[in-house]
Symmetry: C2
């Protein structure tokens, strides 16, 4: 499985059990997505949670009740088989990891696909701003903050952020680039002072791995797609399924398809 | 009631029955919102309809089930009394207009507040681009198009667009300005050829009033907040309430609060 595979090729490899590993380096340029699967009677609350918290939970697509087939972001995909690995959740606790959820599928399940920071990381690298955890071959460091999400029905919980260090001089440009991708968490929420977010020690992330922050760099924090998993933990639905962290769904959309209108409107001279 | 009233003052005047007219000229600079009220068992479908059609249905806020009180966009507001006029809907037909819905309130109702083009019209005027229907003291012309919205459960229907004419030379600037307000319908969907949208005769809008399009101007089309009302017409829920067209809810948010991140990220030098 190589970087220049297409998204459809990665999905097929997952379906056949040929690929069960992480996806960050795969199908470069294609949009990757977080997956949350919930029973219908929890779907309204979660949909509203995403509406109220679009920075950590930017919805790419919500499937029909009982359908594992996206209609918009991928063709001929099956969310039961096309991710490398899944987490099964019972009462808010991850009770197991599997490579196929067909045996766990139910007619009342709703699939939510949520944007992912890989999209803006690609854009940053293409703009000449390397991403530290990629350089160090690690998972991105993530932190639970002292900021609470807007609650929605049974869903509530802390905002989780990811961190990438940059020199102060380039932070505004880094922020400008990622702001162009609101469906991939958009602009940073904060930079400079971890304590503002209730983060006491930048070297001990709550999820992922610590990375080096050089003396001339500031930590830059973005809303993170792990936030809905923190909300699951707190809401304790009887049953849920998510992707295994780092093992995402590959959509057929290209990263450029997620560019916001202010980044694209000038390029549309034809008027359609 | 004057243009430099605050949103709270307009809401109070509506509550006291002192103002029952249209709102376009009121509380200049404050964000106005479309209102859709539905029973809870229709709320998931409608929320998903908005998620799938963010251009015509940009959600500003969804209230708790049974609550007429927004938590985010207005303080001490009551959506049962604080709009000038409402339409009552039965089986998809507007069955009456009232100035207060307290008598029609039920514990299972959910209020949806949806962004409105008044926000970008203010921005266009401030940038030196007059808005034709405002110059002519008319309602904006609106057209049902040949494009279907993405359906969601029981909700489906045509995309409705509004039209404002501009000279070709300034259309790209007009588009750039409105693109900065994705929660107020954002960039135009099309300009130039009405037939592309299935509009045969620009002089006979389906809603609102016709306006003059000068020989050196092109019609510019934006997604329109009447789209959800067209979907209501088609879905025929047993009961619903909306604002009366042009008689909007005044939020406490300022138009600048709706600016997208790409328009604001450079102004945030402090990092918070």
């Amino acid at each position: 499985m190589i970087a220049n595979a297409t998204a459809a090729e990665v999905r097929t490899a997952c379906r056949l059990g040929e690929h069960t590993g992480p996806t960050p380096d795969l199908a470069s340029g294609f949009v990757q997505a977080n997956l949350v699967v919930l029973p219908k009677d929890w779907a309204y609350d979660f949909l509203l949670f995403c509406q109220r918290n679009p920075k950590p939970c930017p919805l790419l697509e919500v499937c029909e009740v009982g359908s594992p087939h996206p209609q918009l972001c991928a063709t001929n995909a099956d969310l039961r088989t096309d991710l490398p690995q899944y987490c099964l959740w019972e009462q808010g606790v991850c009770s197991g990891e599997v490579t196929d959820i067909t045996a766990h599928w139910r007619d009342d399940l709703v699939c939510f696909l949520i944007g992912c920071s890989f999209t803006f990381e690609t854009a940053l690298q293409l703009a000449g701003y390397p991403v530290r955890h990629i350089q160090e071959t690690k998972n991105v460091p993530m932190y639970r903050t002292n900021r609470q999400c807007q609650s929605a029905g049974r869903f509530a919980g802390p905002l989780v952020v990811s961190m990438r260090p940059y020199r102060q001089a380039v932070v505004s440009d880094v922020a400008r680039i990622t702001a162009q991708y609101p469906l991939a968490h958009g602009a940073p929420l904060h930079w400079g002072t971890p304590g503002v977010l209730g983060i006491d020690d930048i070297t001990t992330p709550d999820y992922g791995d610590a990375v080096v922050v050089d003396h001339d760099e500031v930590p830059v924090f973005w809303a993170c797609g792990v936030t809905p998993q923190a909300a699951l933990l707190q809401a304790k639905p009887p049953f849920a399924i998510t992707h295994k962290p780092g093992h995402m769904f590959l959509t057929d959309w290209q990263d450029r398809d997620l560019l916001c209108e202010t980044a694209t409107v000038g390029t549309n001279a034809a008027g359609t």
